[in-house]
Amino acid sequence: MYFSHRQIIKFSAISLLLCLCAPVSASGERHEQKVTDLAYGTSLYYLFQDQKLRAITELGVAKQRQTLKNQPDDAELLLGGLYFEYGLPEDSEQILTRLLNEKTDAATTNRVWFNLARVQYEKNNYKQAEELLARISEQLPASREAQKNYMLSNVYINNQQFDQAAKMTSLIRPESNWSAFSQYNLGVALTNTEQLLQGQLWLTKLISRQTEEAELHSLQDAARLLLGLNALRKNLPDESIKYLSNIQADGAFTNRALLATGWAWSKLSNPRKALTYWLTLAEREQHDGATLEAYLAIANAYEQLDNKPLAIQHYELALLKFDASLNKLDEAVESIVNMELVNTLYSENINKPGIQNTIAESLPEYIATPYLHQVFASKDFQQTLLNYKELIEIHNALISWKSNLPTLQLMLLERINSFENKRQLIAQTSDFTQLKNLQQQRDLLALKVRRIKQNSDYYALANEDEIDYLEQLEDLKVVFEKLQNQHDLTEEKEKFRIMSGLLQWNISTDYPRRYWSLQHQLQLLDRALKQSTKSAASLQQASKINVVKLNDFKQRISGQGSEIERMEINASQLIEQQEQLINLQALEALEKRQQHVAQLKLSARYSLTRLYDELSKLRSAQ
């Protein structure tokens, strides 16, 4: 048959790649895990928009900030998947394995085994993939279970254990697309090993499936074409026509189906009917190999019909078409060498999200496009293109950081300036010498208060009015002494005594309240001093922390510019290399096409010469 086992297994690798980090989230489906950490949700938001770099960054930032408190295992699983999808399988493996080493629950462990198996599977380590899948201890959710059986089926196909592969294929729920892929792979593999009937059985199952999905229609067409070609090979043209006639009229396999149908009718010795198909194909004026082969087949059919002049005419037409095709191919080669393919990809498509899945369909009209559909669809080219797209994303991200860096530097400078302006005030406010003076003053005050208590010095607590009265009384005392020999001061002295007594009584009886109030004031002063000391210490600490923080910011920013520069140069070089690779792969495809056309041309030339010879001999004989 036509495909090696490994080739078959590669068939749906691109589809599989999309599903590792969101196994149940086939396109359009809601993610199976409930979001209980915001960063997990924001990462999904970017993942679902095919922005893997940003999705990984969201989780990376959250991990560093330790904000993934509610679903750390889910986040690790997602991160492992994202790394894998971002083309970093080793990092993915490390994350997933680390998750296993910790004490995780059975459901998570099974998800880890599944994802690790996927990593191994994609790396073509089928034995390890099988071992890892065997460790899964319980039934997985439906979609992942289907993927698991799909992988196992392919692993068994690779080992040529077709019975087990068939068992696994049967276990996949029929409505799942994995079932269709598995049926296809198994059908082709069995046919490939000459187990034609069993192979036919699986391919027939596939084509009898009802579906509205374009991808599955295409897969069914591939199966029909294989069944048709097989039947042709087994010399069963009727059966071949049955399969080929059901291939979509506007699909990727239409031209090949028309060509093969023609050959089937030819085998049924009905060259006229064969001609109908080939002429239809030739009228499509497309650039694929089948159409070019049709030109040769048409001439061949006229030869079969013994219409040599028409056959010669069509061989000559075929030669013209082949020459034109070779010219077009030369132009296409030249355009690729002139970087037109890369420029087209870059300007028109490369920044569209999900471009790696739609490139073949969405590539704008360009001279080499008609010849490159097959290479666009190949996994190698898709991978090259994906790398190219990711490198451009990286380059754009670096340019963006490069332009943002001065803003960050300016912001830091602003903060440094603002801090410097406040620094003097902070220094004044948090001056411990000043506080020490205040403390000494407080201590002196406390000493005074203690002395007042020890000496019961009521007068020390007299208020201003009382001091004034006391002073006045003292003054009166002096006056009394001066006038006592000249006047009778008995009445005044009695008044003086009463007033002095009253004042003394007032002061002494209010002393406890005054002393308590004084002590309370002292306590308040203590508290205020303590608070000031604390605030000053805290301010000093904050100031020190701020200095450290600002220095930390400085350090974090410094060197980033050169690092970004280095990475940008690196990215540019890699983009250039990737562009060369794109061109190389495209040129290889064109070269194969040139060889194919050259082969057809040779065949046409040979037939033409032969026909001319025959005509010449015929004329000589006449």
Partner: protein, 177 residues
């Protein structure tokens, strides 16, 4: 006729041959170019993470940091077109959604709608949702939220949820601790 028949197998072989490249894609060992790409990716991921953290630390210090997120469930009763966000009657964010963004939200993604600074104290947040409601009618709804910003970063999530019983969308606010 003899010669003609001889050409048929040749053409069949060609027919089959040009089909090969469709799936003939054997994996090859990792090339130096691939390794270099991987190394660059690792470097860029690290740089991206560090710079995002630096930017956040510098521009949105934790004591004033304020974020608003948006999520939705199936979105069957409300098809979101745009959101406007106001804080204390001042418009701080406007977002017009693309199909991909809506799809990402419907699949369970959470969008960080706004990241900024907010002083401590009480604030009024108003979110105005515009789109198509039940029966595909134009729909505009405003939600007011009172928040008290403390000294820790604050995270608010606006959730758009279908209420099948009322056949109406519901707008719920969740304040994350």
């Amino acid at each position: 006729m003899k010669n003609v028949k001889k050409t048929i197998p040749l053409i069949l072989v060609l027919l089959m041959g040009f089909m090969l490249p469709v799936y003939a894609q054997d994996a090859e060992p990792i090339t130096e170019l691939q390794q270099n790409i991987q190394n660059l990716k690792q470097d860029v991921l690290k740089l991206n993470r560090n710079l995002f953290i630096l930017e956040e630390d510098l521009l949105f210090p934790s004591n004033t940091q304020f974020s608003v997120f948006l999520s939705m469930d199936s979105g069957k009763l409300f098809s979101l077109d745009a959101v406007q966000l106001k804080i204390d009657d001042k418009v701080i964010a406007n977002h017009l959604y693309t199909e991909r963004e809506i799809e990402a939200l419907k699949r369970g993604g959470v969008q960080r709608l706004y990241l900024g600074n907010l002083a401590s104290g009480k604030h009024e947040i108003i979110a105005i949702f515009t789109g198509k409601g039940p029966q595909n009618r134009d729909y505009r709804r405003g939600e007011t939220i009172q928040v008290e910003k403390g000294s820790d970063p604050q995270f608010i999530e606006l959730q758009i949820i279908d209420n099948p019983t009322k056949e109406q969308p519901e707008f719920i606010t969740k304040i994350w601790e």
